[in-house]
């Protein structure tokens, strides 16, 4: 018998976890799906130019993306709440599937199924609302996966004119690569909260958010201190003017993207290893 990965057994654990998916997450998803509807109703009842701008297709894509991230953050604690509970987790631990199979199933539901189900539902709701002659103009679904268009819209909205090389660079990136970049971002967020779900017994999401906020504050203090006292960086920023502003922003964006990309991969790998170890060695 293959005790590490058996396709038949993996199918069974996927089905087992799948049967728990909607009962455990439907309320969370329903609340998150309701938010764009509430926004729609609020704008429809109080239409002003400002509110209409706030619900253009790009803004709605931003809102849906943010809510999808919230779903990803909440999902591990809703779907696998009791897997490290000394009493309620015994059933999960004793389920005849390998650690790898349980881990992969958890990964699939938290990282892939949750965002897909949420985004699909949210885009469907958005499309239905956009069919009415109400405040929603255009379809969010038509631009949701067009990262280039989204970035362009953000820069245009913020009045930042980027040079042609930047636009060409973005246009040259294949949609699949952009999807991978986006997937790694999703994986990083999800893996952090999957790990939090395994190490905390109660208030799992809240505690992990608290830790992230503290780490972020510490990180910002360190970075600001470093930047403020680094002469080379100060000299670099002193050279920025209206003529080369776009070039500066482009360089900063590229560098930040690089750092973020590698940081997300490292964080995901560490967190997922931690999740796997916890599933394997959790005591009850």
């Amino acid at each position: 018998m293959n005790n590490t990965l058996n396709i038949n057994r993996f199918g069974k654990i996927l089905k087992h976890d799948g049967l728990n998916f909607f009962p455990n997450l439907i309320l969370t998803l329903a609340i998150l799906w309701a938010i764009p509807v509430i926004v729609y109703l609020a704008v429809a009842l109080m239409p002003t130019n400002d509110t209409k701008d706030a619900v253009d297709a790009f803004s709605r894509v931003d809102l849906i993306s943010t809510l999808a991230n919230i779903a990803i953050i909440i999902a591990p604690a809703r779907l696998y709440r009791y897997c490290n509970d000394s009493r309620k987790g015994i059933g999960y631990a004793m389920l005849p599937a390998s650690t790898l199979e349980k881990f992969l199933s958890m990964l699939i539901y938290c990282v892939i199924v949750t965002p897909i189900v949420y985004v699909a539902g949210a885009l469907a709701i958005d499309s239905i609302l956009a069919l009415f002659h109400g405040p929603y103009e255009g379809f969010a679904v038509s631009i949701y996966f067009d990262t280039f268009a989204k970035i362009n819209a953000v820069f245009q909205r913020d009045g930042i004119m980027l040079d042609e090389s930047f636009m060409l660079y973005y246009a040259s990136i294949s949609p699949i690569f952009m999807l991978i970049l986006s997937a790694i971002g999703t994986l990083a967020i999800s893996s952090i909260f999957m790990f939090g779900n395994m190490i905390f017994k109660k208030r799992k999401t809240g505690k992990m958010l608290g830790i992230l906020i503290i780490l972020f504050i510490i990180f910002m203090i360190v970075v600001i201190n470093y930047v403020a006292h680094n002469e080379a960086i100060n000299l670099y920023f002193q050279q920025m003017n209206d003529d080369n502003k776009a070039e500066f922003i482009k360089n900063i964006i590229f560098r930040t993207m690089d750092i973020t990309f590698y940081a997300e991969i490292i964080i995901s790998a560490l967190m997922l290893f931690g999740v796997y170890r916890k599933i394997k060695t959790q005591k009850y």
């Binding site: 005790n3 069974k12 004793m94 005849p96 390998s98 005591k283 009850y284």
Partner: protein
Amino acid sequence: MIKINNLDFAYNNTQVFKNISLEFEKGNIYGLLGENGVGKTTLLKLICGLQKPQHGSVTVDGLTPSMRQPQFLQNVYFLPEEVITEDTTPEKFIQKIGVFYPRYDFALFNQLMKELEVDLSKKFNELSHGQKKKALLACALSLQTDYLFLDEPTNGLDIPSKALFRKVISQYCNDETTVIISTHQVKDVENLIDPIIILDRDDVLLKASFAEITKKLYFEYGPERLQNAYYTEMLPGGYINVMPNEDGLESNINIEALFNAVMKNKETIKNLMQNE
């Protein structure tokens, strides 16, 4: 076969087991007895792989439980003392987990639910505590695992249910199955368990079959308290005396009296049972 060799286990600084060795053979219903907090549940958890020994080893058919390999897990089922159930019917619950167990039998589940008189249509949270326990017992038995571990299974069961419990467990056990029942309600499992294991803090005081126990100990039911008895207890109509069986007489074990006799004469009875 379950083999425990030189097992040490502690929760933080509290030692639970110190160098204990035990073997559990197939085809038996073991009664695991002991006072509260001696480690009955912990021993079951160690055998199930829910805890890991600090020293020594636990193996089940040559497999290490703490590795939680599917090959091991599909042959064991642990029914904890505390009833924790999902918001679903027992039928849906067993259909969800049953597929993982090679000998799972849904027809047997239905039959057991009928025998145990549990309403099939109700969700777990609509059942009483005792009904939930019986439903989970039906689930556990229908999986037909080689090893079944029951932690205080009769807690919360009414008197007819306790009789039903004994009946279905007796029916379940065959030459290939090993059942370990951890309990402090010894009367509930009388006429069901054999052999008996009595745990003490850090130690195993007794592990013996009924035949071995009655060979060494004599349970005398009589009108008076005997002086040389290890333990005497007043019963309606007289006394029960637990005595050394020096004349090789036959008697019926009273598990409660045995337990109390062992607890009062730990070293004496331990040595008596170890002597050939």
